[in-house]
């Protein structure tokens, strides 16, 4: 009996050892086979995604994930497909799973940022974009961070958030890619961020390298325009149009510049007659603008000013008094413009030559 007890004990221990080996072998076989199956399903999902069949792609990737639940690459692709299919809440759940295990996952943060941006959650979107910029990326970290930053920059530009946009552009400026396209984009964005001086530096650098680059000349024109240097702007726009005569946008800018310069009564070197003529023109344009805007039940104050403007336009002024009258006309035009701003529901356009001249007068 004693031998049986010890023998059985030994046999049980041996069985445990043998079963352990068998189990580990079987587990490895299963791991290999299920991994292959997961890879196949995932590849099918990716192919379907490329074909734009996002719903089927999601199913395949989910099947792959059911086999390899912790595969972050699969989870990231699933979230990407869900965003593409417009299933934002599903994507958020998938991304939350990713962020639960690694809150610094750059890709997950970027997608979260995109979803928040789509849903109009500005603060959340900016926060996630920032987390994506400073987060962890599996590969091409620097490129991906740059990509995330440019997405944020585009988003801020879209929302005209100038200060935040400039704050994002400044770090990019030094390390930005040196290719022409990126430099042009940087210049445009700096313009949008309200930093025409920096934008002009960027465009000037491009013109130095490529004197025949129309976009850079146009950019320089816009930078000068933004700094109210309309003569410089006109010169750059003309140069841009000389290189690319069919650029409609630059042509429009040039027209505005030319009209401004033709209308500006403060331009240095104007003789009193010309200044008087321009003041009359300004008064006429301003009155027309007010008339167009306030058509019915004009308040007495408006009526009085319009009458005054009409009298000024028909009045015969002697040459000696034209300087004094020009000042009065300009003052009247400015009053009418202020009145228009106050009384009209529709905001006054800020980029017309008239608005620009009156803005300068206001300064």
């Amino acid at each position: 009996m004693g031998r049986s007890f010890i023998g059985t004990f030994g046999l049980v221990l041996l069985s445990i050892a043998a079963l352990w080996v068998a189990d580990v072998f079987l587990a490895n076989v299963e791991k290999t086979e299920t991994h292959a199956q997961a890879v196949r399903l995932f590849d099918e999902g990716q192919t379907l995604r490329q074909r734009g069949e996002n719903a089927q792609a999601i199913e395949r990737i989910e099947d792959a994930l059911a086999i390899e639940r912790t595969n972050r690459w699969y989870l990231q692709s699933l979230a990407d497909a869900q965003v593409a299919a417009g299933r934002n809440s599903d994507a958020q759940a998938t991304l939350a799973e990713l962020l639960d295990t690694d809150s610094t996952d750059g890709f997950a943060c970027l997608l979260m940022g995109r979803i928040a941006a789509k849903e109009g959650e500005f603060g959340t979107a900016v926060s996630y974009f920032h987390r994506a910029i400073y987060g962890h990326w599996n590969d091409h970290e620097s490129d991906n961070r740059q990509r995330a930053r440019f997405e944020l920059i585009d988003y801020l530009a879209e929302h005209n958030s100038k200060e935040e946009l400039l704050a994002e552009l400044l770090p990019v400026e030094e390390h930005a890619p040196k290719d022409l396209k990126s430099r042009l984009r940087l210049g445009q964005l700096l313009l949008l961020a309200g930093s025409p001086g920096r934008a002009a530096d960027v465009f000037r650098g491009i013109v130095r390298d490529e004197p025949a680059n129309a976009e850079a000349h146009a950019g320089l024109g816009e930078a000068d325009f933004a700094r109210a240097d309309y003569r410089g702007a006109q010169r750059h726009f003309e140069e841009a149009l000389r290189i690319a005569p069919n650029d409609g946008n630059t042509r429009r800018h040039l027209e505005v510049c030319s009209e401004f310069l033709a209308l500006d009564p403060m331009r240095r070197g104007l003789d009193p007659q010309e200044r008087y003529r321009r003041s009359l023109k300004l008064l006429e344009l301003t009155s027309a603008e007010v008339d167009k805007c306030i058509t019915k039940n004009q308040p007495p104050e408006v009526e009085a000013l319009l009458d005054k403007a009409a009298s000024a336009q028909t009045a015969h002024v002697k040459a000696a008094r034209q300087g004094e009258s020009a000042e009065a006309n300009l003052d009247l035009a400015e009053q009418l413009w202020q009145l228009r701003k106050r009384e009209c529901k529709a905001a006054a356009p800020s980029d017309t030559p008239l608005a620009l001249v009156l803005a300068r007068l206001g300064q």
Binding site: G2, I6, E30
Partner: protein
């Protein structure tokens, strides 16, 4: 060295408590490894039977051939390996001192692997319990332990098996006590816990730490949801009763068929599941993959209702026709589908006040388990362990209890008891055991004749249970046992004869 080891083992053998402890660990490890092998083998076989993109005809042919082959093997070589194994395990503990043969263990392991891999709509957990119990029995008997020690180790094998099969160690312990032993205060609690823990550790070492289902965190959205969960309890309870009644009636129908068809009967299950699976592949096998999808809320209400109905039919026919496999897994599938259907309807009616259908599928699993297997406590803990989601536990308890009471009302006899009765086995119920425990030695004792008590003579005290007196008589091969005072072991108070004891239980010889 060997002599020293031999000496240590001999010493271990002499100390009953230490031996029980060591054997619990060994049985836990052994059973855990066998169950892991069972899971892996079944999974791999199934993957080869149904390769990705395989033709539709496979879904008919494979289960038919599988059930034909296993049906023959079960009939010819392993007659005790049919069905789930839970009733057989209970019967072995109560009737035959925990004796389960190695042949049954092997038959259960291989026939079940083949059945489940071919898509038979049964589960692996019940058979695992039978295999675990069988291994514990084989090891204990081969070590030359007493019948009492063998009986004490069998529940340890059960809990080890369930802990590994479901990855639910606490539920495994509870199930062994609640269902297998029918006694929550059983003295074998220590070995049951140790073996479950050991087996669970083995599972984690080999397969890693993954719950059976991955579920998003669900919680109660609005207090009004308790009403919907109560409705789920009612629907789940009714669904459970339908399933149990269908299975039992089909089993009676199959039992009435000529004896010579027994080997062929499992094919009825294979053919049913094959035909259903040809059109609806989700019916094949245990269907845990689909359960996980449903738990995560990916459902169409009409489809989950269809799946629940088809699974009830497929599982009932497969089991009743004599295939090897259990009903735990199918219970979870059916429950998840019923829950998802109720949740889907509720969510479409009251989207702001109810959670998604996934939450209801989760509670539905516990509900069907409580309604079918009738172990409400185990089912709550099991769902918690399977999903590791604690937040939904209160609705789960409410729903489970409602399903349990409805099932008890409409189908008074629990499924495992009914299956035993169909096989002509009448085991003591939990109620009858509690009643029997109340009968004490003094109720059956008669006056003592002049008798000299030896130091080591078997005896009982008057306030001890009569069942203990019977156990001691059986252990020492006596027809009569002396009753001695607790104050003085040499003071003979009376005697109990076997006839007296049976008479006290209302059984006349």
């Amino acid at each position: 060295m060997i002599a020293k080891l031999r000496h240590s083992l001999e010493r271990l053998r002499a100390n009953e408590d230490q031996l029980a402890l060591v054997l619990s660990v060994l049985i836990g490890a052994l059973v855990g490894l066998v169950v892991v092998a069972f899971i892996l083998l079944t999974g791999r076989l199934a993957a080869h039977m149904y390769p990705a993109g395989g033709a539709g005809w496979r879904r008919i042919l494979v289960p038919v051939l599988g059930s034909l082959a296993t049906g023959y093997l079960l009939w010819k070589y392993f007659p005790f390996a049919r069905g789930s194994g839970i009733p057989q395990t209970k019967a072995a503990i109560v009737i035959s001192d925990g004796r389960i043969t190695m042949r049954t263990v092997l038959g259960k392991f291989f026939c079940c692997s083949a059945s489940l891999a071919t898509g038979i709509a049964l589960g692996r957990e019940g058979p695992s319990v039978h295999v675990g119990a069988g291994l514990a029995s084989v090891v204990a008997r081969n070590l030359g332990l007493t019948p009492k020690q063998v009986k004490a180790l069998v529940p340890a094998g059960c809990s080890a098996a369930l802990a590994a099969a479901f990855n639910t160690p606490i539920a495994a312990v509870l199930f062994s006590l609640e269902e297998i032993l029918g006694d929550m205060h059983a003295t074998v609690l220590g070995s049951v816990v140790i073996s479950a823990a050991t087996s669970w550790m083995v599972l984690h070492l080999v397969l890693g730490d993954e719950p059976l289902f991955h579920v998003s965190g669900y919680q109660l959205v609005h207090p009004g949801e308790f009403g919907v969960y109560a409705v789920l309890g009612v629907v789940g309870g009714l669904g459970s009763v339908c399933f149990v009644k269908l299975l039992l009636n089909l089993r009676i129908w199959f039992a009435r068929l000529p004896k010579k068809t027994v080997w062929l009967q499992p094919v009825a299950g294979g053919l049913t599941v094959g035909l259903l699976g040809f059109f609806v592949p989700e019916v094949l096998g245990v269907g845990y993959d689909y359960v996980e999808k449903v738990l995560n809320g990916n459902i169409v209400v009409q489809l989950v209702v269809l799946f629940a109905v088809l699974k009830i039919i497929a599982t009932a026919v497969c089991y009743a026709s004599g295939n090897a496999g259990g009903i735990f897994g199918p219970s979870l599938f059916i429950g998840a589908m019923i829950g998802a259907a109720v949740g889907g309807v509720a969510h479409s009616l009251f989207p702001a006040y109810t959670a998604g259908p996934g939450a209801y599928a989760l509670v539905g699993m516990g509900t069907a388990f409580a309604g079918i297997v009738r172990t409400p406590l185990t089912s709550v803990i099991m769902i918690f362990e399977i999903t590791r989601d604690y937040t939904i536990i209160v609705p789960l308890m409410i729903s489970n209890l409602i399903a349990f009471f409805i099932s008890q009302k409409l189908q008074p006899e629990p499924i495992y008891e009914a299956l035993e009765h169909q096989d002509g086995i009448h085991l003591p119920t939990a109620q009858s055991r509690a009643q029997a425990a109340k009968v004490q030695v003094q109720h059956a004792m008669r006056a003592a004749p002049a008798l000299l008590l030896g130091e080591d003579m078997a005896h009982v005290h008057p306030d001890q249970s009569l069942s203990l007196a019977l156990e001691r008589m059986g252990e020492f091969g006596l027809n009569v046992i002396p009753v001695v005072s607790r104050a003085n072991a040499h003071q003979l108070i009376g005697i109990v004869t076997l006839e007296d004891a049976l008479h006290a239980y209302g059984v006349s010889k």
